[in-house]
Symmetry: C2
């Protein structure tokens, strides 16, 4: 299955090199248990020990130059037209291969704006320049960021299958949470139960375990990536959980919300319902704007404006990020044009990408409402990968 | 405990900046779930989302500039004299802090020779240069490799405690293996039992799980980082296992060997015993040469020459690597002066470092013997962290 995924992505890479008018893509790594290039998962899905080069040309050539001990495992992928195992130095084979392919430019994995395309370390950049010294190719290294944005962003069939499964099992865990909730549980207790369920199911966390899930019980719970603490679920208050799992190497990322009925209440009070409806109107406005060709910031602006129109404050984050091998999967962001987001909100939405859509608001004395769903961009618009939480759950 | 470890390493960092005559060390990262800087574990031990800068000065100042959502977690470390949380851009605070500290040079995490000191991506290098543009500091970035080699290599009390525990539990798993071995088991079956034990104990693998353990049963098992396969343990043949765990973030790495007595045999035959003794004579020669101030290649050469003197071929790898947060922990290598090892064999051994000592040989028609022990370098020489396998185990 892993082998099939690598072959699928390399086929896609050849097609995308042609679409992006690039001659050659080079992933250059070493000792990847220490410094991981996110590009490596696309071309090999294995850790490499010595200096290793993975080259894909627009003509369809796929050459791997790796240490002798790693060569057998790379051959076993069945994805490379040539696997060169070396004993002493990668240099001669790499120079010779590049001189034979004679590219106009070599796209390598660095980027100021996209961490998912920035796996080449500065030390390896220097080594690569030095390896190619005396050839015209030392000065032909260019950023692969746009190419990687397409390759990583447009999910292949196996990738999409895995994402759907990650979302589905996350919803199952939320259903289990729904079953054990009662007033008086601390955030830490809820998180511990969720971790136990996740581990029982053999799943990883979509982000750093201490903050996955984030659990906010009531109005006094602090915001952000904060560890679940001593705040307790209470009648007349909200409970908000932000959670995702990693399953077979792919992540989910969802937020779900409960309202704990006060004695005598049969549904959530007006202040909570008004906030809930405003959030959903905003999320739906974002969802309607999410289609191929839109700029990331345009999608965010549609949701942001709808929330403000409804009389609620702007959310202090992006409407959505791409989802894949990690929760924040890089490239185009559905975010505002704020300096901290760099160029990522200016990227264009492409069919085949998977995004979160998320926003929320505080309700005075009740707590935080945060919506988050996972969606696939299609030619026609979007497909919800999660079953949207259209109704606030009552506990 | 994690907080205590970070404080311990930052105290050590201040002392080492003075020893290395450096004014300032800067770890500069972002979205570390995608691109991990091995230096981050030394200064924070947390994943960071936005651009984040961790500065340690020789005067003892420790400043963290991180995104607002991460600031609380960094403050909780209790290790920084100042934690600056930003909303829009890291740039003003970073420029201002560096201008205030006015360093002669800024040591940053890049290195051609040491992957453990090469966490700064090329994209972040460009961002850093651009952030400091117009100040004298843009041209004062230097490699922190020697400093990091000392900081990462010289184990602090908590680090050493964790390494000892990782080694101890690995020996326990080998004892369990010893209990279930019998002729006719495949390598894959042995590996599966070891994985089950490891998971039951809540431990990770010290390297990529499919090759951890490496299991070699008999003379037909292929060498290198190869998955355990269909070769079976058999009477009159050897079994060799290379295995390590990750426990509380620190790794072990040991090799152990068994000989399966043929019918009527009461001890291993002469060919096996001769190889075993030659390997140990060589390993002991290496151990005797391992002391503070020795160059890595000198230690390797002592073992290599002893093995050749005993009439056995040179091993095709290094005698030892440093051990810590990963199995191949970077910096000084006890290896020959081969091109593929770069400058790492020229590093000097320092007290407080932890190394593997490993070498082996094939015995015709019997299989592979591979020794590997974990040792701490002391002022006086070495301390064995593992209980050395002085005798071949019989099965």
């Amino acid at each position: 299955m892993e082998f099939a995924l690598i072959r699928e992505k390399l086929d896609q890479a050849v097609a995308l090199l042609n679409e992006h008018d690039l001659d050659l893509w080079l992933t250059f790594v070493r000792e990847t248990s220490l410094t991981a290039d996110p590009g490596l998962a696309l071309v090999a899905g294995l850790d490499m020990t010595w200096h290793s080069a993975f080259l894909v040309s627009r003509g369809g050539e796929r050459v791997a130059i790796v240490g002798r001990y790693d060569a057998e495992n790379v051959r076993a992928l069945g994805a490379y037209t040539e696997v060169i195992g070396y004993d002493q130095s990668l240099r001669p084979a790499l120079r010779e291969t590049i001189e034979r392919l004679a590219p106009r430019a070599i796209a390598v994995n660095y980027s100021e704006s996209d961490p998912a395309a920035d796996g080449l370390t500065h030390g390896l950049w220097l080594t690569l320049r030095e390896t190619l010294a005396g050839t015209p190719y030392a000065d032909r290294l260019v950023s692969a960021e746009n190419f990687i944005a397409s390759l990583r962003g447009r999910k292949s069939p196996i990738e999409l299958h895995r994402l759907r499964r990650a979302v589905r099992i996350t919803e199952k865990i939320f259903a289990i949470v729904d079953g054990f909730l009662r007033p008086g549980l601390t955030e830490a207790q809820i998180a511990a139960r969720m971790h136990a369920e996740r581990e029982r199911l053999g799943l990883g966390t979509a982000w750093d375990a201490p903050y996955c899930p984030v659990v906010n019980a009531g109005p006094d719970s602090p915001a952000g990536h904060v560890m679940p603490g001593a705040c307790k679920t209470a009648r007349g208050q909200l409970l908000h959980i932000d959670f995702g799992v990693r399953r077979d190497g792919f992540c989910s990322d969802l937020q779900r919300n409960w309202y704990f009925l006060a004695r005598g209440e049969r549904h959530a009070p007006d202040d909570v319902r008004a906030a809930w409806e405003a959030c959903w109107a905003a999320l739906d406005a974002g969802a309607a704007a999410l289609r191929p060709g839109a700029a990331g910031w345009e999608v965010d602006a549609a949701a942001r404006a709808a929330l403000v129109r409804a009389g609620f404050p702007e959310y202090q984050h992006a409407l959505g990020h791409q989802l894949g091998r990690v929760a924040h999967d890089g490239a185009t962001l559905l975010g505002p044009q704020w300096d901290r987001y760099g160029r990522s909100p200016f990227g264009r939405v492409e069919a085949g990408q998977v995004y979160t859509l998320e926003l929320g608001t505080y309700v005075t004395r009740r707590g935080y409402i945060g919506l988050e769903e996972d969606v696939l961009v299609t030619e026609a618009g979007i497909e919800w990968l999660s079953k949207p939480q259209r109704k606030l759950w009552l506990a």
